[in-house]
């Protein structure tokens, strides 16, 4: 009995310790959005440099769009949405990023290099501001 109790206490203490340093849901979503943005920019740059094919670029951008929408869905699922300005700002970021990816995807499909370069610059400027 004492051993069982000790094991349960140890495991719970471990979880508590892990949970203390664990990223919050908002932190994770922020990281996920940044990851999608970084992927989008990296793929757009690689396509402009001729390092990746159009089919790959389109596939990667479509998946990035889905990931941005996933982020948005998980953020809007929370009832605290209206009361939390950080969450609302993240939802805006997701929506803007998803729109930008859709434009990039369309430009890639039509081979519009100038359009991609322009969108790439816009997103870069937004990210740095």
């Amino acid at each position: 009995m004492a051993v069982k109790l000790a094991v349960i206490v140890l495991i719970n203490a471990g979880f508590l310790a892990a949970a203390c340093g664990t990223a919050t849901d908002l932190d994770r979503q922020t990281t996920a959005i940044e990851s999608v943005r970084a992927t989008t920019m990296a793929v757009a740059d690689a396509w402009l440099d001729g390092e990746v094919s159009t089919p790959y670029a389109r596939a990667a951008l479509e998946r990035a769009y889905e990931l941005a929408q996933d982020c948005r869905s998980s953020l809007t699922r929370s009832p605290l949405r209206a009361a939390d300005p950080r969450r609302a700002a993240l939802i805006d970021q997701c929506e803007r990023l998803a729109r930008q990816i859709a434009l990039l995807s369309a430009a890639t499909a039509s081979g519009d290099r100038d359009g991609i370069a322009r969108l790439r610059r816009q997103e870069s400027a937004r990210a740095s501001s």
Binding site: T22, A32, A46, R63
Partner: protein, 404 residues
């Protein structure tokens, strides 16, 4: 000379067959999220797997039984059914994820939606399963699977440095998100120590009629094959750590993972990644499906064997075909292969104590290992592994939730 040739072939095919959807996804997530800090988890997982593979091969060589047949004979029907059902669920999930991974490889190359590729891939797998012998499946796929060494080549070109690699092989605490760190570490163990590999390896030993004289080659194949195979997984981790992490890219999709080869190989990058993903996943899908046939046949005492005529093993053939069809249908439904892999890896960890515990008994039972039982070190390792597996099984679900 023939035996040495067989050992070399066994080691090579072990390397070629090591990397599949689970090891690629968990290793690359580890690298992208925590740099080289989780290299130790890959090494530990490989060591655990090598111990279990050696034991299952030894038992098969000495008793002519695979793990599931030995469990049936030693523990009876209740334990058998528990392990059988659990393994079949994991096999189905993993086969679905592998088919999805192979289909995504085609999507990376062509841009066509991955669900369109599932049917042709299933058809190719069915042809191989119906027409191929065990040698063709194991050695053929293992040799083609050597293309996964491209991960090691990429890591070599990136040059992570010996000091950084050595530091990664020593367990250390993460500087952020410890729950995710722990989940990925446990996930790497779950992805590497898949129960299907144990039964598949032992069934292969029975198919190839191993005997007491093959124990030394079993040991070499297990430790060298798995050891070198782990180097391929480490290569994937290193590439993600050195390419994706500095760019802030996490591995939430295979499209992101594929980008890791672009700065290393330029225009050939996506092609090489897709080829490695395709071959690794297709090979694993075929082996998992074949293993599902083995599981059914060995559990219920049907005639089985990939080297026998399919007409003589009708129920075995029907069982593996049904599992392939079921996995194909699940894959067509559009489940995200990466997420499915993580679910399967979690379930594998939960099942691990149930798989490891019987070894402790079987490897000390003269009916199964004759005069080659586990020594004190082997038993101590198994006991420690059983306790560790039980702890991991308890924590994996909370960690999956806490780790996001």
């Amino acid at each position: 000379v023939k035996k040495i040739g067989n050992v070399v072939l066994g080691v090579i095919t072990s390397i070629g067959g090591f990397v599949e959807v689970g090891s690629i996804s968990t290793s690359m997530q580890a690298g992208a999220d925590f740099g080289l800090q989780l290299l130790w988890a890959v090494a530990l997982a490989a060591f655990i797997m090598a111990i279990l593979i050696e034991m299952s091969g030894r038992m098969a060589a000495l008793s002519g039984r695979s793990l599931i047949a030995a469990v049936r004979d030693r523990f009876g029907v209740h334990v058998l059914l528990t392990i059988l059902v659990a393994e079949l669920v994991i096999d189905l999930l993993l086969a679905t994820a592998e088919l999805g991974g192979a289909a995504i490889a085609w999507r990376l190359l062509t841009g066509v939606a991955f669900s369109w590729w599932v049917l042709p891939i299933c058809a190719a797998a069915a042809v191989l399963l119906w027409a191929g012998t065990f040698g063709v499946v194991e050695n053929g796929l293992g040799m083609v699977g050597l293309i996964t060494l491209v991960f090691v080549w990429a890591a070599w070109k990136l040059g992570p440095g010996g000091d950084a690699l050595r530091a990664g092989l020593i367990p250390s605490l993460p500087d952020h998100d410890p729950a995710r760190y722990a989940f990925i570490a446990v996930g790497i163990v779950g992805a590497t120590a898949s129960p299907y590999l144990l039964n598949f390896y032992a069934s292969g030993a029975v198919e190839e009629k191993w005997s007491e004289g093959d124990l030394w080659s079993n040991r070499i194949t297990a430790f060298l094959g798995i050891g070198f195979g782990a180097v391929v997984s480490m290569g994937a981790l290193v590439v993600a750590a050195l390419v994706l992490r500095p760019r802030g890219i996490h591995v939430d999709s295979y499209e992101q993972a594929a980008f890791s080869f672009v700065p290393v190989f330029g225009r050939r990058g996506v092609l090489l990644f897709a080829a490695a993903l395709l071959v690794g996943c297709f090979g694993a899908a075929v082996e998992i499906t074949l293993n599902a046939g083995y599981l059914f046949a060995q559990a219920f005492g049907w005639a089985w064997g990939a080297n026998k005529h399919r007409r003589d093993t009708a129920r075995f053939t029907a069982a593996m075909t049904l599992v392939l069809v079921a996995a194909g249908l699940c894959a067509v439904c559009g489940f995200d292969p990466l997420r499915l892999t993580l679910v399967a890896v979690g379930l594998t960890v939960i099942l691990m104590p149930v798989v490891v515990l019987p070894f402790l008994v079987l490897m000390n039972d003269g009916r199964f290992v004759k005069h080659h039982p586990s020594g004190p070190i082997g038993n101590a390792l198994l006991a420690a592994l059983t306790i560790a597996a039980a702890v991991m099984a308890l924590v994996v679900v909370p960690l999956e939730i806490l780790g996001g």
